[in-house]
Point group: C2
Amino acid sequence: MNNTPVTLKFLAEKLKMSVSTVSKALNNYPTINEYTKQRVQEMARDLHFTPNKSAINLKERKSHIIGIILPNLLDHFFTRSIYGVEQFATQNGYNVIISQSHDDLKKEIQSANMLLRSRVDGLIVAISKHTQDFAHLDQFENMGIPVVYYARNPSFNLSCHKVLGNTFHGCYQATKFLINKGHKKIAYLGGPKMINFTHDRFNGYINALNDNQVPFSSELVAYTNFDKESTISAIKNLFANPENIPTALVAFKETILFDAIKYLKSINHPNFNEIECIGFGNTSFIAYLDSPPIASIEENPESVGENAIKLLIQLINKEIDIHNYQKIMVDCKLIVHG
Amino acid sequence: MNNTPVTLKFLAEKLKMSVSTVSKALNNYPTINEYTKQRVQEMARDLHFTPNKSAINLKERKSHIIGIILPNLLDHFFTRSIYGVEQFATQNGYNVIISQSHDDLKKEIQSANMLLRSRVDGLIVAISKHTQDFAHLDQFENMGIPVVYYARNPSFNLSCHKVLGNTFHGCYQATKFLINKGHKKIAYLGGPKMINFTHDRFNGYINALNDNQVPFSSELVAYTNFDKESTISAIKNLFANPENIPTALVAFKETILFDAIKYLKSINHPNFNEIECIGFGNTSFIAYLDSPPIASIEENPESVGENAIKLLIQLINKEIDIHNYQKIMVDCKLIVHG
DNA sequence: GCAATTATTTCAAACGTTTGAAATGTAGTT
DNA sequence: AACTACATTTCAAACGTTTGAAATAATTGC
């Protein structure tokens, strides 16, 4: 039980030398005598000296902390993205503080202010569904703290750094895959219209249809807010016209397919066995479904996270100018199951 | 673009008063004149003054950071537990740094050292599967930093603070529920034997059998390491003796039931439809399974996290002596589906 | 043996805040 | 006018580190 904390001063007194010698010895300054260094380092080891981060932070005017604001840790996209961030951050001497907004703007503002008070050296943020005003995030750049937007596209904010999945291309690939399998009636089940990706993905879908001379039908497009009721009502619409029943389905998100498939099964839809589905996600759980999607659009969240942190660190180190706004697109990959 | 950071000194110069007056005005000292306070607070607001946390931390000899080491963010138990921690930590002015060990002892040691260097004010840890030596965690207590073990029981470490699910009782309840439904042949599918909970849960199972005069058969007990192969081989053992086929199954973890159920279905087991399963977990996914478990043992991870952080903060505030080791058990709840 | 180098150590200020003690200002009392 | 009693502000040190400049010690050359 050591009451006196082991500081440089403490070591210096023990060794009967000055604080600066001790500091320089530990930091391996060339002007310090080898023998002195040895003595200091030995003593530091024996007494379990750990430099006080707060003091260093104060001196260096850095916190060595990177903040992440994201909607939710229950969504595997985000937890997987953290892997990419964490690893590279740690390697570069940064700690990561994660704050969840729960897709609530108020909570996002709170998180931002909290991280600002903590004087993070940089911020990575996946904005909430409802973020249209960016004042709480702009504060950071105004103070010279770089911000990288990732995973969700802040389209209202033109001047910012972004790392996004190439969701257009992912949806294009999926649609093309279905076309190649012979499908002519492919439905698109989008997410909430206020999420930009909904439209990017829709464009991927449309382009794939056009490029392959498959006629587009507006009856084959519907949107859901992710909740079960909304998904079922969208599905009802897609299957409303008996003259125009889809045989395949591209969904904004794999998880909404679960509700969709379950519903179609529950009503014993006559064409149920023909319907082939693909969604964004690649959840490990689909292995357990009786009628699983035939493929998944893997978004590579780890890579999205890794790109975000790499860019952020370059910005922190001023290797890239903070106003030289970057946009990085991370490719998706179609994973065919079975 | 403000190059000069807005500090107390900066405000003081602008206002032509001393740094200490500014500081005290912002902290609402009673000795400061009301009018002065107003002027200072107004100026602070206008110039977006944010107190420098590093300086405060240095002064207060606190980091206002709480570390969490846990195996994995992909496991919903842990992500849910974070909800409980985060909320209460934030309310008390603490930031949380989460570090994943990936159930790897080396990584856990690294994380511990990293958090020690960051001089966290307290640590919450769910140990890795392989942690038997606690030197890297004992460091904290030796420096007077309290540690709360949670979610996973560090049975090799007798003197420590613990917050654990009452897993014995959870398993007891589940077994009893099955008995009440008329089952006589209830199997127990445990996790890896090196995890203590495996045995606690087994004891819950056994006690429920005994208390209700259901005979025990060692043929109805098997263990898995969580991976698919291991689970299937355990299931094969449980169903090996045609004279003694189980009609119900209590599993260490809901997710292993997925592999189990899938396997039984795949081999078209004759009694498949009779078999009723229960596991620890309560995953939202089970809603999408065709043959879902009939009930789940909800472990209340949020509550486990909340209890851990509350205890930790009491320890930090010295409301409880660091050597007065506490053990808190959080109840499970049986959730019957359908 | 003494100046000129060079090697090594120490000084002192700074980072931004807090806080008890000391100083100053103001008003009230006699 | 001198004194007390407050109200208010400022001083100064401290938290633990870093780092350029200054001081000191040791070594070399002549």
